[in-house]
């Protein structure tokens, strides 16, 4: 699971009012993947992602230092910054672990990089 996906996912267990963000418990993380860097795309994504949640996600996997605290000004012209964002949202992969609903503590497994968000019938 890439962190961009994590940034969008929310818990949808019945009765939960605030299921976002899902806490990450990772047992295996891969930072070696390579995805083509598209600066224009990253610029478009920055306003659409939740920066604080991205920071939290990095902290949960022990990689808090990969990004600065705040989004830099004029990031459109800051290639180094854009590359850092690109790496964190597009390339870091949670291979094995779980996503935990902040309210119900229901755990969603991540295996082979894929989060399984299926709910049981009584949770729908």
């Amino acid at each position: 699971m890439r962190l961009l996906t994590h940034n969008m996912l929310t818990s949808h267990v019945k009765g939960v009012n605030n299921g976002y963000p899902l806490k990450i418990e990772a047992t295996e993380v891969n930072v070696e993947s390579e995805v083509d860097f598209k600066p224009e795309f990253i610029c478009c994504m920055i306003p659409r992602i939740d920066w604080d949640v991205l920071k939290k996600a990095l902290a949960w996997i022990g990689k808090a230092d990969l990004l600065p605290e705040e989004i830099v000004d004029n990031y459109e012209e800051d290639e180094e910054f854009l590359r850092k964002v690109h790496h964190t949202i597009m390339e870091i992969e949670i291979v094995t672990g779980s996503l935990i609903c902040p309210e119900s503590e229901r755990s969603f497994p991540i295996n082979k990089g894929i989060p399984n968000m299926l709910l049981n019938e009584d949770e729908v």
Partner: protein, 599 residues
Amino acid sequence: MMEGLSKKQMKKWKSILLKLLADGLQAGTEPSKTLAVGNGGIHNGVCPTKLLEVLNAYGEIEKFSVIPKKSYVIITYTSVESAESIFKNVQGTDIEKSDGGPNATLYFYYLNTEINPDSQQKAIHLKPQGLHIYEDFITEKEERLLINTIEQDLMKQSKQCAQSVLKHRQVLHYGYKFQYGTNDVDLNDPMAKEDIPEHVSGVIEKVMETELWEGKPDQCTVNKYEPGHGIPFHVDNPDAFTTSISSLSLGSSIVFEMRHPIGNVFTLLLKPRSLLTLTGEARYTWTHGIKPKKTDIVHDSAANSEAIIHRGVRWSLTLRKVKDKTSKTESGPPMVDTQDAVEIERRHVHGVYNKIASHFASTREKPWPKVVEFLHSLSPHSLVLDIGCGSGRYLCTEDTNHFIFGCDRSSSLIDICQEKHPFVFVSDGLNVPMKNDYFDACICIAVIHHYFTAERRLSAIKEIVRLLRKGGKALIQVWAAEQVYKNKHSAYLNKQSVNTNPLVENLQTLKVDCTGDQEQKVCSLPIHKNRNHFAQQDMFVPWKLKNSPTQAPTNTHYRFYHVFKEGELEQLCRSIDNCTLEKSYYDNGNWAAIITKDL
């Protein structure tokens, strides 16, 4: 039989045949004295005298009819041999046109002119299964009484309210109130049920005697039609009403038409005092309607010509029985609760896809061009969600600059997607773990037809609307019940099946145990014959699993499908408050709709 015709000419011959059949002529290749000459009509620019010169050369002519506004003529020889001779020798040859335009090519068809004793009706093999007609169902005296009572009630009603519900018709309802907005009856409305008056219950008693009803009609709609009024083609709501619909016609004759999804048309002259009852295929598969005309043309097979009849005022008394939504129905899918639907989908959708994933993926590599077109139409850097992405066909479309996430119910299929595009997750389409109002666009291709109930299919579309940001748009595509549309066959049909429609009775059925709360329920649906027309909307479609392309199939799995009829997808979309249907179309055996979320 028709050597000497090129491929192109055979195609043309067939398309004219369909038009002749649609006009109610029993046209074909079975030798007969009577022939239709396609492209030989005045309407096509052919001079009858010139044509007769050609036709005379092959034998003695008994009768020659020029049909108004048609591009064919009908000719009867005194002997079958003469007809056979011209059929063989002049088939596909040209004749000059009187307007000096390019020559017309003549095509010949034998016509079966035997009159059915029920008169004005067409051959048994073309008649819809489940259609029953009783002429002289009531006496003339009974008819006059009914018309008078109806007219009095209409008068009373018009004094009570300012305007009638429908522009073109004057309507009365007895029993439960029929609501045209939803084509349904509101069982919860305590004012909804009125007593059925005596003159109608008299008719109901008589209708019960025909033994074509299960249970008793409890809803009656009376319509008054002035000449020129018609009824748009439709199937009576299968969810609101039960298996039989009866209609008593009063006052005037009218031509009543039925259309089958594969293209057959059946017309009949409905005389006053006749009762028409629709059951089975006639009730659920064929649509019925009346063309908005002031006159009707009827074929008089004996005289081999046409007669024009002028419509008078007509009243129809239509009887229906409102469905008890908690009980099982005979036709269509069994009524099941959510738990059962989930279980059937688990076994016959997700379970199957998990088993057939790699074989399935290998057959689903080619993207549908119109889906790609939709993706290309999005603004740069749009965020898109592919709900039910399967093996990821649309996750890596070239030359687009949108960003797409994929989700699917099948973990085996998502495993396959992952390799090409890692922004995927496993999720149910009815409950996607993403926030409201987020995505610029969604696509949902070949997914919704897997949900077992109409309710779940609607929920799936509502979920899509929830996920879209305001102004965002979605493309939904489903398998069509109609594998032939506007005379074109889909790529799904194989050549042999193009002109045959498998009958529901001849198909094997699959029984599925649905474990409900109280009792063991069994649901039984037909097994579809692959590459053929769909015999009904709800069925199991077999998948013969192969471990490799060269091996023989090892196992057959059955996937549940509900294929959509024309207008069905649009109706679902339109029933959602905060979305607008932008466009809908037919694409090679599928119905598609593009919706936007309102601002």
